[in-house]
């Protein structure tokens, strides 16, 4: 394990802890940039999908992983971002470069608008409240048919930035580049929020609302800000998702997507940027992996097995195993493996053991 000798106060909040860490993350970025020259167009499309889900995951992670507010309604904000982006382009004729950030702002403002009345809720009640919002938005899209096209949906136009076209099918590499650029921006923003006083107050609210209040954190405001940032990033992901899928309607953003997003960041590992990416890899590539395995088994046995609902069942089973055996998710497992090698041969099995807690009710009767 590398020990950092801290000589300044900045050492605690630097972007990278030490040079080697900076080296590895920059090489990862370099790898992502040269990826289009290695992979086929189809694989690049899949990678683009992974990155879009990762942005959405980071959006939800700020709320769930950093601030500790469970939301089962983030598909609603994917929808807000997606529809806002396309409608601003179609109805008002704004270019993508304006409509895209505006879509994020609109989604963020609607998140704040939701956070203000629900600021008293926490835990399971907040999850239910946001779940209701997700269902309401699904139905509102159908009701507002003149604007949103109802169940027929809308077509997302090809992205055009100063005359350069970005299209998923026409120019997949360029489209991937654009998404990668947005992803890097979001990661930097996320990391910077965590290093700022705001990020610290998020963590304080997550760990104990009462002690956060005692330390002078305005809990309601912090929650509202967390909601705003979280939904803004989710809205950006929604806008990109619309351009990625080309056509979308209310069915694209159902309650199932909300649930999947939450499950995704839990599999990845709550409370870390890495977790959002690991979860996105699982959720975006799992359907492909299942199809491959199915075809392989089918070729071996000479039969074709196509069972509806298999994907979500496999996803659910993976999730059950993770929660039971690795509650910290894929990132937690990675941390353990890394610590094992860093401390070799001094790693102990109980190093990451969490203290057992006993529940007490808040009910009076």
């Amino acid at each position: 394990m590398r020990t950092v000798f801290k000589t300044t106060y900045d050492a605690d909040i630097n972007l990278f802890r030490h040079g080697a860490q900076a080296f590895w993350y920059l090489s990862l970025l370099a790898l992502m940039i040269v990826l289009p020259f290695i992979l086929s167009d189809f694989a690049i499309g899949e990678m683009t999908n992974v990155l879009i889900w990762a942005i959405a995951g980071m959006g939800l992670m700020i709320l769930v992983g950093q601030t500790g507010q469970a939301s089962l309604g983030h598909a609603a904000f994917l929808a807000v971002g997606c529809y806002a982006n396309v409608l601003l382009q179609e109805k008002l004729g704004l270019p993508f470069i304006l409509s895209f950030p505006l879509a994020g702002v609109i989604a963020g403002l609607s998140g704040v608008a939701l956070a203000i009345p629900t600021s008293k809720l926490h835990g399971i009640y907040l999850a239910i409240g946001t779940l209701a919002v997700s269902i309401l938005v699904d139905d509102l899209i159908v009701i507002a048919e003149p604007l949103t096209g109802g169940i027929n949906g809308l077509y997302a136009p090809t992205i055009d930035i100063f005359g350069i076209q970005f299209d998923r099918y026409g120019t997949p590499v360029r489209f991937y580049g654009l998404i990668l650029f947005v992803t890097v921006l979001v990661v930097l923003a996320y990391r910077n929020i965590l290093r700022s006083p705001l990020g610290r107050s998020f963590a304080a609210v997550r760990d104990s609302e009462i002690s956060a209040q005692a330390m002078g954190v305005n809990v309601a405001r912090t929650k509202a800000v967390a909601f705003g940032i979280s939904t803004a990033i989710t809205g950006l992901a929604g806008a990109l998702m619309g351009h990625f899928s080309g056509i979308f309607n209310n069915e694209t953003f159902t309650i199932i997507i909300s649930i999947q997003m939450l499950l995704m960041i839990v599999i990845g590992g709550l409370g870390s940027i890495h977790g959002a990416f690991f979860g996105a890899v699982v959720i975006a590539l799992l359907p492909q992996a299942i199809a491959r395995v199915r075809d392989g088994v089918g070729a071996l046995t000479g039969t074709s097995i196509a069972i509806p609902g298999m994907e979500s069942a496999v996803f659910g089973a993976i999730l059950i195993l993770f929660i039971l055996f690795e509650p910290m998710g894929i990132y937690g497992r990675w941390l353990k493996i890394r610590t094992y090698f860093e401390l070799f041969p001094f790693y102990r099995r109980d190093m990451f053991r969490r203290q057992r807690s006993y529940l007490k009710t808040e009910r009076m009767r």
């Binding site: 469970a70 009345p117 629900t118 008293k120 809720l121 835990g123 399971i124 009640y125 999850a127 239910i128 409240g129 779940l131 209701a132 919002v133 269902i135 309401l136 139905d139 509102l140 159908v142 009701i143 009462i210 309650i255 649930i259 939450l262 499950l263 839990v266 069972i307 509806p308 609902g309 298999m310 979500s312 069942a313 996803f315 659910g316 089973a317 999730l319 059950i320 929660i323 039971l324 509650p327 057992r356 807690s357 006993y358 529940l359 007490k360 009710t361 808040e362 009910r363 009076m364 009767r365």
Partner: protein
Amino acid sequence: MDVLQLFVSGLANGCVYGLIALGFVLIYKATEAVNFAQGDFMMLGAFITLGLTNDQFWGLPFWLSVPIAIAAMGLFGYLTEMIILRRMFGQSQVSIVILTIAMGFVLRFAAGLIWGNEPIALESPIAGKDVRFGGLVLGLDEIVVIAVTVISTILLYFFFNVTKLGVAMQAASQNQLAAYYMGIPVKRVHSLIWAVAGMVAAVAGILFASKGSIDPSIGLLGIKAFAAAVIGGFGSLPGALLGGIIVGLIEPFASYYIAAGYSQIMPYLLLFLILVFRPHGILAQIHRKKV
């Protein structure tokens, strides 16, 4: 007369929601965990009965398969707690929510695999018969649903407040550590309450299947039942039934008086408004947390 018929059918629907909500509340009351798979438990109970009763499967008499299905769901609930949930002991509520959502995915898939994804009707003796009160024509299924729900709620209410086991369950929920010190076998109490919730889910499933055909996705009804539980006040058994009936009554009246499209959002709109203005439901049981 229309209004009265709407009222009775809404009441019957609401009773099914109320029964599923009762399952949520039972588990929440005793273990502080929220079982999001309760709707899928209900689906499983309905399908086990259907698999035992219908001629295309086992073809047993209806009155024989009902107790078997209820007992099977009780065992299923007990084993679920013993094998899966017990490992989660003392972990956060939200991770249990996520675990049970995932369990729901798996159960829905398993039911589709065994009984198919097409809607099937249960061959139930109470389905499709009418009862006449004067000029009023009511479905026998609706009356049975309402009666069974009222009886089970009363039984559960007394079970919780009077019997030794019920009081032990409340104690285990209020303070796990103190309950241990008092000699309550907290883990076994948890398994038992999951068994009871499984049995209630089976009853709800049989009643629901008597009212129409079922397919594996009816487990999603659990979301509506969840809304009912929250509207009534989570943690209160009469509240769960009250919430279920409110949701059940809103639906037919909203679709009767309000334009289509707007009517289906009414239960969720009510849920949202309740959460905003009365965050802990109509029969609230939570007060501000003190340090």
